[in-house]
Subunit: 500 residues, 2 copies
């Protein structure tokens, strides 16, 4: 027993060291995106590189292997057990990639992001093509090293959504797509046309910020354990559960960016703020997957903040912060406008209904790329064909098409499905939540902490103790099921666009 206890103590200290470097790295990222002066960027990137390498070394060291071997069969403490499991998985996956290959990948990756920026700016796919080809190739090699059962793409999916497979997606996505496309047709055919012009009015930044902070407090975001800053690309970042920061962007001519965006990031932040304290300083103290994380942000952004009840409860407050202009806009008019459905080229500007269609375009293309069924050079054409097929619109430029997202330039393949998965998870959680709790009544009180509490118990607290589908199963009593999302969207848009 003494030996085990000593090993365990050393292991915990070792994990704290990793946590310390991780927290430093997260602070560096936050600072680089919000506060750093221009000339500081170059040196800071090097510092980030050093810390990243250090963390990687600690996670794949012989010492780590020694801890894993010593503790994996001997422990009965469930947190320690799961910690060792996650460490082992990281260890095994990282050790499988030859060091030299990984280094080449990292170098290509950082060059690619710069090239992609230029390519997007100049609408020049050919400039980016050779880099993308390399990145696809690295990902194929990685996937082969990691191994998979049925589809090579599964090995990549695992990085972002462990437990979810290509087989599952291929079952769920086409069904979802059919429903969404048919719903879209009904909406297009509807005589109702929300007037989004009513949303345009000069709305000073400070007032947007003040209103947003009120909503964040309603959600239960703890400003004693976080802060809100301004940035170009909004994000949420957890330094630890007691310091989870949000950033947002203010468009003084369109409040939607800041208000819905902050609520979205606030959903991510609530997840990280409410992970159980007992998981601190272990690799379990973070969201369990990209999909579950996205379920939390989308839940608050759409299922709460785009609901009619939410605006019933908050429109008067909103009007008191908003410009004079909004006093002439009726609640229902406003509600319809923030819920307009309209196929558009850019994923991050898409509405609730068409969003998942954007994801499917990407999923199908990246799966085919990794499986060697299509070539990088054909991407622009294939992209546009799918956009026409699913959304009925044809991007006039690659900038508004295949070049719009940074993910592939960053070498991330297997990431995109998380967004649509997050949506389906959110709808499933929303369904269960509403069967247990009177959500509308709570929203009307102007204090949504009861909802946050439900989510914390169901999802947040567990961190990585549970896998994504385990969470969904434990809460909803079933697996991934797209029906809830379809049902929710049908009901919502039938009311707004007046069809049956």
């Amino acid at each position: 027993m003494t030996t085990i206890n000593t090993v365990e103590k050393d292991f915990r200290h070792y994990l704290r060291e990793i946590s310390a470097y991780n927290e430093s790295l997260m602070l560096i990222h936050w600072d680089m995106r919000t506060k750093i002066p221009n000339h500081g960027v170059e040196q800071r990137s090097e510092v980030a590189g050093f810390l990243g390498e250090k963390i990687h070394k600690l996670e794949t060291s012989d010492k780590m292997k020694h801890f894993i071997d010593a503790l994996k069969n001997d422990t009965t403490d469930p947190i320690l057990k799961r910690t060792v499991e996650v460490c082992e998985e990281n260890y095994e996956r990282n050790r499988k990639i030859p060091h030299e290959l990984y280094r080449e990948f990292i170098m290509t990756q950082s060059k690619s992001e710069a090239v992609w920026q230029e390519a997007r700016q100049n609408d020049d796919f050919q400039l980016f093509q050779p880099y993308l080809e390399k990145l696809v190739d690295y990902n194929k090699q990685f996937a082969t090293y990691w191994g998979y059962e049925h589809n090579i793409y599964d090995a990549l999916l695992h990085n972002f959504e462990p437990g979810v497979t290509t087989t599952m997606l291929d079952e769920v996505f086409p069904a979802l797509r059919t429903s969404l496309v048919s719903l879209l047709d009904q909406i297009k055919a509807s005589p109702v046309k929300p007037d989004t012009d009513v949303l345009q009015a000069h709305f000073p930044k400070n007032d947007q910020e003040a209103f947003t902070k009120i909503i964040l407090k309603q959600m239960g975001y703890d400003f004693q354990s976080g802060r809100l800053d301004e940035t170009i690309h909004p994000f949420a970042i957890a330094l630890n559960r007691n310091d989870v920061r949000i950033t947002t962007r203010y468009d003084e001519n369109d409040f939607r960016m800041a208000i819905f965006g902050t609520i979205h990031e606030g959903g991510h932040a609530l997840y990280e703020q409410n992970i159980a304290e007992s998981l601190m300083n272990t690799p379990l103290a973070t969201g369990t997957s990209m999909g579950i994380h996205e379920s939390q942000s989308l839940f608050w952004e759409n299922f709460i903040a785009r609901s009619h009840t939410f605006w019933e409860a908050n429109y008067q407050e909103f009007q008191s912060y908003a410009p004079q202009h909004f006093r002439d806009v009726e609640l229902d008019q406003f509600f319809r406008a923030v819920n307009e459905v309209k196929p558009s080229f850019i994923r991050i500007e898409a509405d609730e209904l068409t969003y998942s269609l954007h994801i499917m375009v990407r999923y199908e293309l990246e799966k085919a790329l990794i499986n060697g069924e299509i070539n990088v050079q054909d991407l622009p054409k294939l992209w546009n064909e799918k956009m026409v097929a699913y959304l009925g619109i044809n991007p006039p430029t690659n900038r508004e098409g295949v070049l719009q997202d940074i993910h592939w330039a960053g070498g991330d393949f297997g990431y995109f499905p998380s967004y649509a998965l997050g949506y389906m998870y959110a709808a499933q959680l929303n369904h269960t939540l509403r069967s247990e709790v009177n959500v509308d009544e709570i929203i009307m009180t102007g204090d949504c902490r009861r909802i946050k509490q439900w989510l914390s118990e169901a999802v947040h607290q567990h961190g990585k103790m549970k896998k994504p589908l385990e969470i969904i199963k434990d809460v909803t009593n079933e697996g991934l099921n797209p029906d809830y999302l379809v049902r929710y969207l049908k009901q919502k848009y039938a009311a707004i666009y007046q069809f049956n």
Copy 2:
């Protein structure tokens, strides 16, 4: 040659790693003092502890010793040579302290700071006394381990002002004190009484900030390589020469705190921004001593920003940012008010003349403590006696007396003299500068970068390549000499207070 080159390459990489942790730690400190949410503090302190320990380990490792031994006789590159020298000194000094003793010290130190906070708040010296006794004792032990030639206090002085000894201070300080006290008597006897009431007017934070930024730009502070934030205790911090941040505190009823304070921190920041690029990622890429650093901040705060010429050049601009009120305050009236001399209890609020007297009180007491000539329990009494003897005022409480500064609670002995040294250095540099460059003419142009350039060539660029007294010698052709400060103060106050 190949071996040396390989060792040198490895050494540089090793130093970059130390730099990376240092930069991370500096960012953590900056964040903890400016942005961190309350609940994040505890965990962040642990992270800082980890990084500090890591840096300490790297600086005292066998590997470091190996680098030092391999490179110290073989190199002709002056930067590398000096780098090895500084590394060796750090290595030797740190290795001399038994690990266990150092750990105990660190633990006592952090407890002491908390106890000191409480003691100061409640004006309760006895609460703090046992901690201070321990800290004095640790410092005596350290000094003994480090070794010294003449006075045990020298070993501590060395940490902050290498090359300066107790013998030197004991020669310089009494002479300086006599002059200052006699000057103070003349001022007290003068019928001129500057009216500081004219400085009191509600001055909105944003306007103070806007004016301060103009002055920082005049000084040549590079906002592309820095930023200005708000904090409780103003400071300057260098993450690296391309990211040197300033913080300030705004008192809306007294602009002096923010404006002179920011100029002071700006002086520190200019030093760090202008260290030669070739020194980056070595331990030489920082100010050479506390005293030289302070010479830079005091130079700008007092020798420039409290000069008549400075306000001739900037008073109109100041008035345009300041409240209406200042339009009725004449330049000369204003100038006299910001240069009022008046003995007061709190060091950091002291005027240019009495400031050094505050330092001497502390120097004499800490030297006597470390030499075992006085006891901690007698400090309050001795403190007050010296205040009466040098400044003619008797602190009514220990809070306004011996408990006011954090330095001793932080375990720092030997630090205080740097402040007075910095003042003397500044006066010496100021004298040489003015003999070479027409400072007043430059100030009147509203662009002081020529002055900054002179200071960069004389001081900044060298980082730790030169020792403090080497810098003074190279620039002024002599050693530490208090006469310049005395002459400067005499001339200044004779004009303001109209005596001869």
